[in-house]
Symmetry: C2
């Protein structure tokens, strides 16, 4: 096949993508395979390079931090490669196990609450305009009592938002450019990219595949995907995600206690990403606040996306305990609140009505069923790769399988599977140099697509 | 009355506010007067100062830019004063003409489209997860053809978002800390505050009531609320809002041509806020892109909030023409796109379905009726103040009346009206030193509340 899928090539900013997306004869419904426009984001068609060279230019310098960023954000880049394949072979029945995008319908108990809210907005009695920036009180209360009972987290520690990723950037704005940062390596790319954007890092070091001034804490099968904290440098901020995206590893109580102690010894703040907490099957902590003392060194981001299928509806929250203080004694929550009111106007009131329904007894039951379904998918994927002799991590407490391809570049493996299966995965090195030799396989998908993808993978690798 | 409403006092961060909001016997429905929690945002109750002083502190320094910010964001501060009054006098029937919060139901043609979308999310065929970061194609296309026909703006220049205020902050992240900034004085406070947060400014200069390194372009009755550009310093970025919030002034075609020429001469970028464009009654431009050459020096933010009553639903958009380039020729749109994909996950798919319905022929007709209603309110307010001998600006092409109280401090006037009417307005100086001696009166409200507020104002001032 002659499809150009060179990972180092310039991203293709061509209007031909958008025309392809309009005229594709790739039938999404009959195959129950999502279209690229829907599940992976439409390829952005901003100015083609030649346009940039000719016209009038302002005298405003481009932000040097933006210029440090390498290529595109990971998932649009994956989408571009998928689109390139489809452009060349429009009849390809590509199955997406790439970006962690939910596919199953939202339980009716949740949509009906949203529909009720929508309809009430057309009435004088039911209409509401601006809500509280931090979210509606009943929702904040329900989040506190559902997820943080007996953990000392109160409803005024909860900040409702339009999602975890958005909150991560808002937190970076709170921290500013003069902090140092650590991430697990590999990790969800929004941590590193938002850190680069805020000017917390040095330039990209091509050989190391790392940005200067970020502490990359290596996580691999050798250390059970938990970093060796005895060798890690002190930083102001530590991003930590459990269950982990992309490795699927979950941190034990003992490991998280080590992390909290490490943060306390160093006076660091842990930004704990718990977006997948409800996928935990064993007795690992679902919240960093299960660890004594965590409220003084940690805040926690969370999301309804992967529980209720809210990837498109948009709802999340961040817990910033009032006990978390900067070195001058100023509460982090107070600055976060200021950012929330100055740079944000609250999550949609419709999404919040859905979020409240999620936390009713029926809503919780329905969410657990959806999560159980995706976990069965994960199990099928894990078993498939294991049957082919691959070493597979994750997939037990997370909707991601982390598959090892020792000695092979992860973009090469990604391209091989995309071209030959064709199945979209995510190349491990997109999550940092520690992800080289791995691919992430998402368990989000209709069952028939998961089974078909596994059949094709068996054909490819057996 | 002994209510403490001292504008220089420390904001009250006390948990008594939240208990008040829970137990108030202030009946919102029977009076058709919104509760503070709904229309002005719940007062945030983060750590009380004494808590901040005692516990464990991290070693993370507070962001010095955050520390530059004065008091709270304007509208939460206004809400706190209102709550203070209600705490003392829970039976006060306060009418809110403060924050520009819509009060009329969303037209049924729009809510029914959102309800259809919500219900479809419960089905396999209708479910969708992550959408395109920049918004759904049909919506971008409808925005381009509804608002920018024949202006050379294409659908890929449109970035759909969760609102103008959020986009303003994302734009500031794109620009970074090394740009200089100009604002109209007075202006919507999110411009200045987000500039401070990003580190573009100096410290707050108490005597001048200004931040260092921001160019405040004075707008007053003397200059027809259009700045004297011949005396304005060159800056990288110029925030410009028309119809203006708070003054209600609309810039003419000739004035906007001057602005575009000024930007072009200086190589500046104009961030044009058109959130109130549909309120224009005369033939003033509804978009900066009506001015020839604007695409090379301007981008434009817009919002569905004040048209369709989407203040709570959350939907807006920003137009970044592909012709707008940084000094190195790099397209601004490309960096904005990167921020959109890295720091944001798109507007709620439900809000976007509503946004699309807004732009159908029936939706446009319904929106115009709602806008017409608010404009009648504005007219009533303007006539009331004029009948009392006040000089009133705005209110013709905008939902705000800008009332002159020569020689009186605007917080004093605000307090007087809040205590004695009681009606919530917004003190002009909250929009910058150029707003001193003015108050902004919002025309958003049920008709009976507007009439009652005007009756009380007549009683107070006649």
């Amino acid at each position: 096949m002659s499809v150009i899928l060179n990972p180092t090539a310039t991203p293709l900013y061509s209007s031909s993508f958008s025309s392809f997306l309009n005229h594709s004869n790739f039938n999404t419904r009959s195959q129950n395979v999502s279209s690229p426009a829907k599940s992976l984001g439409v390829c952005k068609c901003v100015a083609a390079p030649q346009e940039s060279q000719t016209g009038y230019r302002t005298n405003v310098s481009r932000n040097a931090n933006m210029a440090k960023l390498q290529a595109g954000y990971l998932f649009p880049e994956v989408a571009r490669r998928r689109s390139a394949l489809l452009l060349k072979y429009p009849d390809s029945k590509v199955i997406s196990l790439g970006i962690g995008d939910t596919t199953e319908p939202i339980p009716e108990v949740i949509t009906s609450a949203m529909a009720t809210k929508v309809n009430s907005l057309a009435t004088i009695e039911g209409y509401s305009g601006y809500g509280a920036y931090e979210g509606e009180k009943p929702l904040r209360r329900a989040i506190a009592s559902t997820f943080y009972t007996d953990l000392g987290i109160e409803e005024d520690d909860i900040f409702v938002s339009d999602g975890s990723k958005c909150d991560i950037s808002r937190l970076q704005v709170v921290f500013g450019s003069n902090v140092t940062m650590a991430v697990q390596d590999p990790s969800y790319p929004a941590y590193v990219d938002s850190s680069v954007i805020m000017g917390q890092t040095g330039q990209y070091l091509k050989d190391a595949q790392k940005y200067g001034s970020i502490e990359y804490m290596w996580c691999s099968p050798e250390n059970g995907f938990f970093p060796d904290l005895s060798s890690a440098s002190r930083t102001d901020i530590i991003f930590f995600c459990s269950p982990n995206n992309p490795t699927g590893a979950v941190a034990t109580r003992e490991q998280l206690s080590q992390l909290v102690q490490f943060a306390k010894n160093n006076g660091s703040i842990v930004v704990y990403d718990s977006a997948y907490a409800m996928y935990i099957s064993d007795d690992s902590p679902r919240s960093i606040f299960e660890i004594p003392g965590a409220k003084e060194v940690a805040l926690e981001t969370a999301s309804s996306s992967k529980y209720a299928g809210f990837t498109g509806v948009r709802l999340g929250w961040t817990v910033v305990p009032k006990q978390l203080l900067f070195s001058d004694g100023f509460p982090v929550a107070k600055d976060f609140s200021r950012i929330i009111s100055t740079c944000f106007n609250g999550a949609s009131n419709i999404s919040q009505a859905g979020g409240l329904a999620c936390l009713s007894p029926e809503g919780l039951k329905a969410m657990k069923e959806v999560i159980g379904f995706y976990k069965e998918n994960a199990n099928i994927i894990v078993e498939t790769f294991e049957s082919l002799g691959f070493k597979v991590y994750g997939g037990k407490n997370a909707p991601y399988a982390w598959v090892h391809f020792p000695g092979r570049g992860s973009w090469d493996v990604f391209n091989e599977i995309l071209e030959k299966a064709p199945v979209v995965t995510t190349p491990g090195s997109g999550f940092g140099p520690g992800g080289e030799d791995f691919i992430r396989v998402s368990a989000f998908g209709h069952r028939e697509n998961i089974l078909e993808a596994c059949r094709r993978l068996k054909e490819l690798y057996s």
